[in-house]
């Protein structure tokens, strides 16, 4: 098989993803940012006395879990591998930068989906059935792809200090959580708030999650799915393009 061909590169991307799964899923920062952070944020709002119904809170928790978990793995991989010199090993192998980035995204996407499925099961366990399972699958897939692309995008600055990237990533992630209709319904937001929320892909995922659990939604479902897919493609292309430019400076 021609090593430059797409199937050959996809196989190598999968090899990178398997390596990431073995190494990075249980790293401290990944667990803190990907699992504990959304749980504690949710608990803070749940116990905050606002008396919000579970049908509103659980979709928010699902959105937050997917967002935090899918963006927890990918930003840290490049700096970790840069400092351990293992990135140089990958760079000297017959794999394109795009395939390396794609492999990291696969690992991140699977981590996001895996953790979020647990959250969905918790929702079902506390008595909130999933009304539209197929839409939830589609939303989880595109949401995880989109957020993992955001994660790899955050790792573009060519620093090999993971904490620097984690700090940058927190700077972006927290504002996004607050403008995306997780804790305040979009319908109750002022018009400028809704305009701002429209720029966040998390808004569309949360809207879909809310539809799946309660049947309510702000945007139409095709718009939510279409925009989530569009964000995924745009972020994926952007992250591959930018990593190609910055990777030599990281090595």
């Amino acid at each position: 098989m021609n090593p430059e061909s797409l199937p050959a590169q996809l196989r190598r991307a999968w090899a990178v993803a398997k390596k990431d799964i073995r190494i990075y899923y249980l790293k401290g920062p990944v667990l803190i940012f990907g699992v504990f952070m959304p749980v504690f944020l949710f608990l803070a709002f749940y116990m905050g006395g606002r008396d919000l119904p579970l049908s509103f809170l659980i979709p928010g928790l699902v959105g937050m879990t997917l967002f935090f978990s899918a963006t927890a793995v990918s930003p840290a991989i490049f700096p970790w591998e840069g400092s351990a010199k293992t990135l140089e090993r990958l760079a000297s192998c017959p794999i394109t930068i795009e395939a390396i980035v794609f492999g990291d995204m696969i690992a991140s996407t699977l981590f996001g989906i895996g953790i979020t499925v647990i959250t969905v099961l918790i929702g079902v366990g506390v008595g909130l059935p999933v009304l539209h399972m197929e839409i939830l699958f589609v939303a989880l897939f595109f949401g995880a792809c989109c957020f993992s692309a955001i994660g790899t995008l955050l790792a573009v600055p060519p620093t090999n200090i993971p904490s620097s990237i984690m700090m940058l990533s927190s700077l972006l992630k927290f504002p996004l959580v607050f403008i995306s209709g997780i804790f305040v319904p979009l319908a109750q937001m002022p018009s400028w708030g809704v305009s701002l929320a429209a720029f966040s892909p998390l808004t569309y995922f949360c809207d879909l999650a809310r539809y799946c659990f309660s049947g309510e939604h702000y945007f139409s479902i095709p718009v939510d799915i279409g925009l989530l897919a569009l964000f995924s493609v745009v972020f994926m292309i952007a992250t591959m393009f930018l990593h190609r430019r910055t990777m030599p400076r990281r090595l």
Partner: protein
């Protein structure tokens, strides 16, 4: 001889520092090519450009006929790299690292397993193949890196200081494996500080100083080329005045070290004949007579010192 590696006018600048300044050379098929130079001379940067890890600012590099910038995947498919710093995944076992390499080079699983087993046995790590690499010693890590670089049976091997700081056992194992692989036809590009290693292993060596190649030749020719004045060490059964030895035909200088005399001579053969005649005329017995060839260390020091040739 088929050209396997070719560097033409490679340039790399970091800020105001021109680390590599117009480096050009070729390496033929089946050669062991040594790349020598003092710290900061540009050896590692050149190797990293040749292996496609960093792009050159100017110039071109081809490996096995593939331009490393235009066809990086095709070029990398047929070479292996042993970098200066061990870079196996320490959270994985040796076996998992080998399998990862197999997958990154597109090997079928069964072939990767077969080769990994053979290679790990060769480098003495098969018994610890399931142990995480973080528990390995420096020598074990370096042997693993070499095995990882060979898993796809490459035609070319790039090694950057492969034996730096290793114990004798690991060093001998690595050098022996390199010789075996070279006999099987692998072309080797070796960056090293170790002159003895380069002298014993390499067919040709290039010496780089401040980013520029200052000499490329076979080690023996390089050693001879640096000094037109040769040295002879001689001792007699009794003391001889320096002045008397200085007057012997062909002797340009005399230095006494202990009971021996080190003579700078213009031609070895003529000087030895003159010394024998001198001993006969003065009823002296020659106790020792050694020709002192310049070492590769001498060549390296001469060629890399400031204002050298």
């Amino acid at each position: 001889m088929t050209e396997i590696i070719s560097a033409r006018g490679l340039v790399k600048t970091f800020g105001a520092n021109r680390a590599v300044d117009g480096v050009s050379f070729t390496v033929g098929e089946g050669e062991i090519f040594g790349f020598l130079g003092p710290n900061g001379a540009g050896k590692t940067t050149t190797t990293r450009m040749l292996t496609g890890v960093i792009p050159p600012d100017a110039g071109t590099a081809t490996v096995l006929g593939h331009d490393i910038r235009r066809e990086p995947v095709l070029a990398k498919q047929d070479f292996g790299v042993v970098p200066e710093t061990s870079n196996a995944y320490t959270d994985l076992s040796a076996w998992q690292n080998m399998m990862l390499m197999g997958e990154l080079y597109g090997l079928p699983r069964s072939l990767a397993e077969e080769r990994s087993t053979d290679l790990l046995k060769t480098v003495g790590l098969h018994g610890k193949k399931d142990q995480k690499v973080q528990a390995y010693s420096k020598g074990m890590k370096q042997r693993l890196i070499l095995a990882m670089a060979l898993v796809h049976d490459p035609r070319v091997l790039f090694l950057d200081e492969p034996t730096g700081g290793l114990d004798v056992q690991s060093t001998q194992m690595i050098l022996s494996l390199l010789r075996d692989k070279n006999r099987e036809g692998i072309t080797i590009f070796l960056t090293t500080h170790n002159m003895e290693e380069a002298n014993r292993l390499c067919h040709r060596v290039a010496i780089i100083r401040r980013g520029k190649i200052v000499a490329i030749d076979a080690p023996e020719r390089l050693k001879m080329a640096i000094d037109r004045v040769h040295r002879i060490e001689v001792s007699f059964d009794r003391e001889v005045p320096d002045e008397a030895l200085g007057k012997v035909s062909g002797v340009a200088g005399v230095k006494r070290t202990g009971d021996k005399y080190v003579l700078d001579v213009l031609g070895r053969d003529a000087a030895i004949r003159s010394l024998v005649a001198f001993a006969g005329e003065n009823n002296l017995q020659i106790v020792t007579l050694n020709t002192l060839a310049p070492t590769l260390d001498d060549a390296f020091l001469r060629l890399t010192q400031e204002g050298g040739p």
